[in-house]
Symmetry: none
Subunit: 380 residues, 2 copies
């Protein structure tokens, strides 16, 4: 579908993809199908010439005169490059699900290319990846959980995908970075924009070791609809999406909804019902829409990955665990201070005296009963 003829150079391909990526506001479903049919270079020529079906013209007419070389130069200037589906590190497999869903949902149309900044190989990074999303106005609780999840996932070799926003996103990225692990930020604006500005340093850090990606050319500013469009990439690139904190209507809930439509596991971190920031998560849990997760191990387990470090909330064992019902009754009839006779213990526990006689010495052996001169006691 995206085959190049022998005469086309990589420069031609990049120019064509850069042009197609910007000529329509993503997600442009008619254009995407047109490119799949015609190949990128011919599709770009036809779009520029206006020789396209009506549906494609509707998506592209406003911008068809644009010069893609300007975007490519601006990208080079800010240290970014264009990753195209023809590249070996294009995340073919993770994005395949968008291609499938695009048949029913126009807003699930795959990206025509991706601007990238950083040394990471996106295809490799997406092999074992989890998306962590959540409220911008996160609470201390949410930020703590996101940081720990980010750290633990990265520490186990998982890539943390998020949106670089304030609050949960930033905490998840930072957690991954502090584990010296892999993290990918998917932006809703050009890679030359530091958005939010308070995350300029964070974005530089991610760029240094991981990857910052976007469908939007340098210079494109963030806008509300771009966040929603961007969310499908976050949902698709992660093997599952964890919502750490979210209000009732939120971008995070939108990403979760997208993950759901992509049949990727949706997870939610339970939180206090008294916290407005956990309302979205708790509502998703009540509706059975999300699986509750409380740890990195549970996230990996839910995504279906190999849990490297079996992390169970192991239940503490008690000394009385091995006792049967009758032994337990006798044990509980013992007082720590007041010694009791066997007869008294039989009445107290409701266990026949003959059994009490047999049970007490065995309890004594396990250190669960204490013999005194005046009778039997519970151990100190």
């Amino acid at each position: 579908m995206t085959a190049m003829s022998d005469n086309d150079t990589r420069e031609d391909l990049l120019a064509a993809r850069a042009y197609l990526l910007r000529v329509a506001e993503p997600p442009a479903s008619a254009l995407w199908r047109f490119v799949a049919d015609q190949g990128p270079i011919r599709a770009a020529e036809l779009v520029r010439a206006g020789k396209v079906p009506v549906a494609v013209a509707k998506e592209t007419d406003a911008r068809r005169a644009l010069d893609p070389h300007q975007d490519l130069r601006a990208a080079t200037d800010c240290g970014a490059r264009l990753l195209v589906p023809e590249d070996p590190d294009w995340p073919q497999w993770p994005l395949l699900v968008l291609e499938q869903r695009a048949r029913w949902y126009r807003d699930m149309t795959p990206p025509l290319a991706l601007w990238c900044k950083g040394p990471g190989d996106l295809d490799r990074l997406a092999v074992r990846a989890a998306s962590i999303v959540g409220a911008r106005a996160a609470t201390g609780y949410g930020e703590q959980v996101a940081t720990e999840l980010g750290y633990d996932l990265a520490d186990r070799g998982w890539t943390v995908i998020s949106g670089a926003a304030s609050g949960i996103d930033g905490a998840a990225h930072r957690g991954a970075l502090s584990a010296r692990g892999d993290t990918v930020a998917v932006l809703a604006c050009g890679l030359d924009q530091d958005y939010p500005s308070s995350h300029a340093a964070l974005l530089r850090q991610i760029t240094a070791t991981g990857l910052v990606i976007s469908e939007y050319a340098p210079g494109v500013r963030p806008a509300k609809h771009r966040f929603l469009v961007r969310n499908r990439l976050i949902a698709a690139l992660g093997g599952g999406t964890v919502v750490v904190e979210a209000g009732v209507r939120s971008g995070a809930a939108n990403t979760a909804g997208t993950a759901h439509r992509l049949d990727r596991p949706v997870m939610a971190v339970p939180g206090p019902i008294t916290s407005a920031m956990s309302l979205g998560c708790n509502t998703m849990l009540r509706a059975g829409y999300a699986t509750a997760v409380s740890s990195c191990g549970e996230v990996i387990e839910t995504i279906g990955g190999y849990v490297t470090d079996q992390e169970r909330p192991d239940s503490p064992s008690r000394p009385t665990d091995g006792l049967d019902r009758r032994e337990l009754s006798v044990h509980q009839a013992l007082d720590r201070i007041q010694p009791r006779s066997m007869a008294k213990l039989a009445v107290e526990s409701g266990i026949p005296l003959s059994s009490v006689r047999a049970i007490l010495p065995s309890l004594e052996l396990c250190g669960l009963a204490r013999r005194t001169e005046e009778g039997w006691c519970a151990p100190n």
Copy 2:
């Protein structure tokens, strides 16, 4: 099954049931079946004479010489009465499920009678009832949620069933009482015992308007296995069971498990994954074992009742909601146990002493601070 012959008086019946209730340690499945077959008066005679099948003898031999009149007198002395299955206010319908489950689970055997204290009609109270259970070592969060749930349920005419323990149980009862609503405490000891002793006043309050009930005769002390046995009554009397806070292995989880075996809805309140006291709830949610509930409306909806006041998950209100930043700071500097001087509170809160002097009395007026001889405390 429990028919009396015409010659038997109510006194005979009460003496027989009181005897049967104490002669075996509940739940005594063989004795229960024996009583169902023989009727209570004849069953009591046969047990006393030792003319019973081996299974019944095993359960009853240790105590068969006991005098039930002693228990009946002790009950009268402490203001309690014996409620028997032959009474019109016996909760036939709620307890029927135990009778059914007792075929498979010996520990689900129904009670042979119930000691009751208070003006309530148990059968009527159980028509619209929810059980609220949880950790003794509850956090402030758990107690707040239990109090609000108890209040809201009672306020809507629902009965709050719980176990009168410290922590969640007590908070749920108190919430119901402060709504001047119905609440039933099911004890694991005799009704003359104030257990826990810190709840003596609470138990008196419940007794004044609601009902305190127990399978255990006056004088019987609480014991671990009795709590577990008691839990089946809590689970059966509520139309569903809400776990507000629970550790991994807890009595509350046991009650939830019982409710589950009774096919009654099990609900859990989500909580911070960083809180050990929410671990049990969050684990049940993850396992799909419990339904997440965040409000009284959701509890009623889950039980399948008619939600009288459509309650959207609107952001919950707190007693401290109306406070400004300075009032809140002073409030948070208060300790529940350790009284603090105004000077100390000024340092602790960072609010000037002159303001602290003005703020404390107004907090006291709203019930958010408590004046003691040694200084100021948070309310109990």
